[in-house]
């Protein structure tokens, strides 16, 4: 049953060899890996206006352009810096791998933690922004925004569990639709305002004071705009997802991404300034611009639909990046190994599910409010940018091959700008939420160290030397005790007893007496059936079933030499329906967990299947 539901939802299992064919070319790769960066125009511009309008009033629409230009400049520097990363690290892994290679373990873990946080935030932020686009068009859905967010995440989870290639086909169209409609809006908006000379009244009141822009406010506006830059890392992390030549394809996609972002972010910001859009919690800036340009008709709903779609698909960038990154870290042993295993559809199922769950928690906690999630965003990704670029600079300085001076300079500029931006982001957004990220990164690094340390200890203890060959023990001298706890003489006990007889002559039947009557009944039937083995009875005045058994095993009367293993046989009733399990096997669960803490005990579970 569960298997067929699973198959219906995520499709038939795929063979490991089918992995190669599940990759993108440039046409599919661009929309899938860049939708994060491209979609952020839907909220980045709005956040800039949120800072500027109350601070400088009408001047906001002039100053906005400066902030946007700064962001775009930074984007291109990052694009060129990361193209060099792609050149050097064909297997992907981005900041984590680069930092590990050039800066050491701790910096790489910092990058890993920062990236993980930002991948999760990408999902939460994009989904909440997508929902905002929906509720801007249909205001009566506003009270259900959290529910909408959760439904969207569940759909996305299912899609991604089906595997990367199929998700490509599902998720690649919306970005292209969004890019097209945005270009149409930008061109028509420009023509309408400048050539046809139509200047509609702003929808919301624009403050009619003007102030000079202070440096701090400008930094804040710039920081708000930096949320548009989070998608760059995704491309260099995702190189193994590209078809051969994967490095070349990734580099082209990265450059295309920069160009698309330039056109859209620049164009829409320009439209916001001429059509005087302002921040409003219920109607997004894009929605306001669309109403001004197209009127509240068919085209407005098309814009909102495509905006919602690309934002939802932007979350998909994380579904490609996060599980892949996590699998790389898991192979190094810094997160639980389960994250390194591919599911039946060749996707890293555990990583996908983990991502969905944490994003849902965030969305529920922040009540699906995009605006309150954004201050947490982008700090992490700039930490990883800084580490990756610094690592690259060190790499060039160490190797000094080819045009290394020129390349080191590009990465150095990238590193310095990323670092400065990290500082700006942390300070300007600290109170609103960035503090949480600043605390979380060291905590995650600590946890990752602990996990690695534990895996190391286990590996050490399990390691075999050539001297420890299995032949050196003399089995003939060993006593092979098997203990069968008995409650009443029934078929399940008989199965255990037969099993034990097949292996050893040293059988001990052990009964813990809580109720005198029951014990008497047991001993009577024991006699009646003519069982050959004596039964050991221990009273338990405190009604504890495990204590007397453990005490018996440890007692001198039960003579075991140190090397011996004692086998305890526990029958287990296997029932047909899940709820029937509540009615059985409670005690044996406790016995299991107590006995398994002892080195010299083996526990045999013998299923007794209730067929009806």
């Amino acid at each position: 049953m569960i298997n067929s539901i699973k198959e219906f939802l995520i499709g038939k299992s795929l063979r490991t060899e089918q992995l190669k064919s599940e990759r993108f070319n440039i046409f599919w790769g661009l929309p899938i890996l860049s939708s994060d960066a491209i979609s952020s125009v839907a909220y980045a511009g709005q956040e800039i206006l949120y800072i500027l309008v109350p601070a400088v009033g009408f001047m906001a629409f002039t100053d906005m352009i400066h902030a946007v230009l700064m962001v775009i400049l930074l984007l291109f520097i990052l694009v060129f810096s990361y193209r060099q990363v792609i050149d050097c690290y064909p297997k992907g892994g981005g900041a984590y791998i680069v930092a590990q290679d050039n800066l050491g373990i701790t910096p790489s873990l910092i990058a890993a933690a920062a990236l993980c946080i930002d991948y999760i935030l990408t999902v939460a932020v994009s989904i909440s922004a997508g929902t905002a686009a929906i509720t801007s068009a249909f205001p009566h859905l506003l009270p259900y925004n959290v529910t909408i967010c959760i439904i969207l995440i569940i759909l996305m989870t299912i899609g991604n569990l089906r595997g990367i290639s199929e998700s490509a086909k599902v998720f690649a169209i919306p970005p292209y639709l969004f890019i097209s409609i945005m270009i149409i809006m930008i061109v028509y908006g420009f023509v309408k305002y400048n050539i046809m000379g139509i200047h509609p009244k702003p929808i919301y009141k624009v403050p009619n004071f003007t102030n000079t822009l202070s440096f701090l406010v400008f930094l804040k506006a710039f920081a708000a705009g930096c949320t548009a830059l989070t998608g760059v890392e995704a491309v260099s992390n995702g190189i193994p997802n590209f078809k051969e030549p994967s490095q070349k394809n990734a580099k082209i996609v990265l450059l295309l991404l920069g160009c698309v972002a330039l056109v859209l972010f620049g164009g829409i910001s320009y439209l916001s300034t001429i059509y005087k859009a302002v921040y409003n919690p219920d109607v997004t800036v894009i929605a306001q611009v669309a109403i001004q340009v197209f009127g509240k008709g068919f085209m407005f709903y098309i814009v909102q639909t495509f905006t919602a779609l690309i934002l939802i698909m932007a979350a998909n960038t994380s579904y490609n990046g996060f599980p892949l990154l996590l699998s790389i870290i898991a192979k190094d042993g810094y997160v639980p190994r389960q994250f390194s295993k591919r599911g039946s559809r060749l996707s890293y199922s555990n990583g996908i599910i983990f991502l969905s769950l944490t994003a849902i928690v965030l969305l529920v906690y922040f009540k699906g409010d995009n605006h309150s999630l954004l201050p947490l965003y982008a700090v992490g990704v700039f930490v990883s940018f800084t580490l990756a670029q610094t690592g690259m600079v060190l790499k060039w300085l160490r190797n000094k091959d080819g045009a290394w001076k020129h390349k080191a300079l590009i990465n150095a500029i990238g590193a310095i700008l990323s670092f400065s931006t990290t500082i700006v982001l942390s300070i300007t957004k600290f109170k609103e939420g960035a503090w949480l990220v600043c605390i979380l990164i060291p905590i995650l690094v600590f946890i990752m160290w602990r996990i690695k340390a534990h895996y190391n200890i286990v590996a050490d203890e399990l390691k075999l030397n050539l001297s420890q060959k299995p032949k050196c023990i003399d089995y003939k001298k060993q006593k092979n005790y098997m203990i069968i706890p008995i409650d009443s003489l029934n078929k399940s006990f008989l199965k255990s007893y037969n099993y034990a007889e097949a292996f050893t002559k040293d059988i001990i039947v052990f009964h813990v007496s809580i109720d005198e009557e029951a014990t008497k009944k047991l001993l009577d039937s024991w006699k009646e059936y003519g069982m050959q083995v004596p039964i050991v009875v221990r009273r338990s005045p405190y009604r504890n079933l495990i204590g007397p058994l453990v005490k018996f095993i440890e007692s001198e009367e039960f003579t075991v030499t140190p090397g011996d293993t004692i086998t305890v046989i526990m029958p287990q009733l296997v029932v047909k329906k899940w709820w029937e399990n509540v009615l059985h096997n409670q005690t044996s669960l406790f016995i299991r967990s107590t006995l398994l803490k002892r080195r010299n005990i083996a526990l045999v579970t013998l299923p007794y299947i209730i067929s009806k």
Copy 2:
């Protein structure tokens, strides 16, 4: 650690033999088993006024007395009926036992379901009313009422897990304090009004219209007052909790209960009529009376404190009755067997914890509002009254011993009145919540039947006949295969291998290959260590670890005759800290649950302890 917390909270373990000394005499038994009935004066009168005041206006204060008298009359009929139950059923069990004995299984299960529902409601209703007494005195605590309820339940749970005798001493004083303060208030209130002639103005506006009382409204008022009658069953259920002569003691307590309820319910209702108290969601009727009688000074707070205390202790009636009833039903196999086991302090721990959890759920759902919980209340208990009294009538008619005609008449009156009251309660309170109880009772009866049916099937399948003696199998002919799955050659595998070698020569080492490289590494080290047994390798293109193993066991190449049991050895890493478990043993959990569904498989769990 957990053990010492447990010991700190609930005390040292008690021996089963200490059970006898954990019983009440009359002095302790009265307050503990009757606090439910006595405490209900704190809300029963108020509910009557809630019905009457809006319906008949000023006349409410006259009509109330009639309703109260009806309730008290019914109480005494039930007291005498139940004294006869105590005579006939010295081991307790009340309606469930009586119905089972005289009416058959289904009626007894109906009684059981009805009683269980009402025990849970007693906790919820009493705790919420107690909290209302607290918030009437300290209105700024009103927003935290649910939290207060939950804290109170947790304290009560701990107290009861410590065992019945100790809880007696903790919980017996408040009822006596409440009885005393109520008698003082009744006497002083009477004197103040009638002899000193002081007639204070009502605190809340009393409607100044008068209406004639319709029959339906009177029935509603009577139904509202019937919540005062739920405590009677507790005494006859609780006979085994009394010291010898337990029947006589229980009968005396039951009669005393009737007398105390008569004085308090009558007296306080009288005070409410002369001091013109009305229903108010924030200030209870008792609080209004206390203010009128004593003024809002020291004595007012004493009244509120003692009222809160007895209400909280009333919930304790359920903590004595519910787990005991559940243990009786569990011994018959209609609820999970765990409920029949005494905990380390001789209380039925599972029943206590279950009661607390369900009551908390109710309180959270109804936001701790006493008034909205009350319509659900009392229906269940009157269903059980009806069944118990009907059963008693049949018993007298069947046995015809002693003064059976006289006794049958008493029980018949009890039965008829209980049945009529059940109908009145169901109809008048149906819309407000009684419908839920009417649905729940059949559902619970169905579930109990299913559980019993399941236990019967299991018992049938496990039952041994004398012909099935263990000797009839020839173990020499059996092959004793042991399969050891291997992932990599390490100490844990070696332990499994040594264990298997000690028991059999038929060892199969089985490897599922997911990753070619890892398999090659394993086979190399296998050669290097010079292992004698061949290793069986199966590829798993779909990365499924269990499928190939199951397929191998079923395949012809692995020849097993039908009777053979195949032993699969699963090493399990035992780690020191709980969180480390997340990092291991995930796969073996899946393997366990799949393999244990097969009749011919035994699973050996071999702990490998990581000591660091």
